[in-house]
Symmetry: C2
Subunit: 119 residues, 2 copies
């Protein structure tokens, strides 16, 4: 599964270069990612994907089955998480295999540190 680039306000963001972002960009990106976690269903989706071992596929249908929501609603939540930068999806035949963007948790924590502890 190939790496997917994060974006902030449409522009690509390098996970390893938070230092290169302006302070304001940091806060915007932190807000974007936080909005991703601002719904219990999306928290659960990130948890499912973050805990999966690499070999274990997690397709859209698995997520739909795990949540008490309609398929279309889950699809919307997946879109929100994808656009925020939490997850990525890879088409695999008729299914879409989802996983968290690698290092996203550490990136989120780094953004919190820079945005909330910065001067």
């Amino acid at each position: 599964m190939k790496e997917v680039k994060l974006t902030c306000e449409g522009k690509p963001v390098d996970l390893n270069e938070i230092g290169g972002m302006s302070f304001d960009e940091c806060k915007k990106k932190l807000a974007e990612l936080s909005k991703g976690l601002a719904h219990p269903a999306r928290v659960e989706i990130v948890r499912m994907l973050e805990n999966k071992p690499l070999e274990e596929r997690c397709v859209c249908g698995d997520i739909v089955n795990a949540l008490p929501l309609a398929q279309s609603s889950v699809s919307q939540h997946l879109k929100v998480l994808k656009e925020a930068g939490w997850i990525q999806g890879e088409i695999d035949g008729p299914c879409v295999c989802y996983c968290t963007v690698q290092g996203i948790m550490e990136y989120y924590l780094a953004l919190m540190k820079r945005s909330l502890k910065g001067k």
Copy 2:
């Protein structure tokens, strides 16, 4: 300044007892707190308050002056953060002195750990 209790779905939450919360309550509370950070202005407010030394007061007016928003809009953001559990306000004469709830950052991180890494 006296300690203010956190709530989850209206019920009080002990900062030191995440273990006592159900898994679902954890995810709901994480979503609530995340929604607090889901706007750049609120990220900036939390940053301002988190970085203040204890002796240094930070009244509502200071926050209004620091943000490019109308007083009523800032007041709304403060209300969101207060209801989410990030901050508390203490009335001091005609002013209201705000600060972050003690240990809230660690609590947020603990919720992330439990909600996103839990089984």
